[in-house]
Symmetry: C2
Subunit: 199 residues, 2 copies
């Protein structure tokens, strides 16, 4: 399957079945992420794989504490959007997904955040190739779940990816067509108009 | 070809031949990037494709002005690393590569940077699938090249990707093995030791 087929068939999944996940598949996907380019080749990513149910429960509780504070504080368009999506401070997927990948970042590396998120992009496609679903969950308070884990100083929590199989059949979110996001030589030239002009 | 083969065979390329690039191939790769997940599905990425030689020259000059200031200011380990890599303020690839993709970010979107860089990860693998090489160049002063382009306010320059075919045969930078970057349930458990213990 080509990358376009993988990319267009993947969606963010928030509800997971209890079906277990092959650790080998997850490690294979992490091997892909480990090949990503990074600032000064510092490879500032670390991946903490959580399968232990007690640890996942503690991470869920820590995250939900942070989310409660966040949902109390947010307002405006973003709050409306969150509610329209059926989102809340509750993050059951942290306990329901059979496996979590906690993505950590070496804060001292140059372009650390950019590099880590390129690796997350690699990881998402590699998981999809293995028919595994995920969500790119960014906790509102990244310190709370870290306190539950034995992560040394200097590493920051960037995301938690619950990994498993969907228990819903929600559609993929619609994406803008290239004509709305790509431009040729100047911002005034949408790529669609440019291509037509060239015919 | 599977994603692991694409990821392990890709490398960052800084020297490009004058061989031209198919715009259709680049658009195909951008179609992949456009499928990336993003905070609140805001899809905060825009891609400005530069093929016009005059525009590429102006972008090169603007970037090199920013790099000169940066190289004058940097010191310590990072400066040593830059010099050891043969890097300098000169960025000829901005003129030599037949096509540049300027990656822009809608600054107001939630998790804008994280989202844009996931899309960059998708883009890098999609380019590799099309046998196109690139470099993820992050200008030291992102305002200077923007001034040369007609980009509206609210968008920030995140990266410039020169795209083409290599004119060197440098090796891929070595990457850490999974045993150094992946851990199971606690930071003390390298995934390699964990797997051996399970046998």
């Amino acid at each position: 399957m080509g990358i376009f087929e993988l990319a267009i068939s993947r969606r963010s999944v928030r509800s997971f079945s209890s079906e277990s996940v092959s650790l080998e598949d997850v490690l294979g996907a992490l091997e892909v992420a480990a090949q990503a380019p990074s600032g000064a080749n510092r490879q500032p990513w670390r991946f903490l794989i959580l399968t232990d149910p007690d640890i996942r429960l503690r991470v869920r509780e820590a995250c939900e504490k942070g989310e409660k504070d966040f949902y109390d504080s947010v307002d405006g368009d973003f709050r409306d959007w969150l509610l329209a999506q059926g989102l809340s401070w509750r993050k059951p997927f942290l306990e329901e997904a059979p496996l979590l990948v906690v993505v950590l970042m070496d804060e001292d590396a140059p372009y650390a955040r950019e590099s880590v998120w390129v690796a997350v992009g690699f990881l998402q496609l590699a998981l999809q190739e293995r028919s595994l679903s995920t969500l790119t969950y960014t906790p509102s308070d990244t310190c709370l779940p870290l306190r539950e884990l034995d992560v040394p100083g200097g590493f920051k929590l960037e995301a938690i990816l619950p990994i498993g199989f969907p228990s819903d059949d929600e559609p993929k979110m619609p994406k803008r067509s290239l004509g709305k996001i790509a431009f040729l030589n100047t911002w005034e030239n949408s790529i669609v108009r440019s291509k037509k002009a060239a015919l």
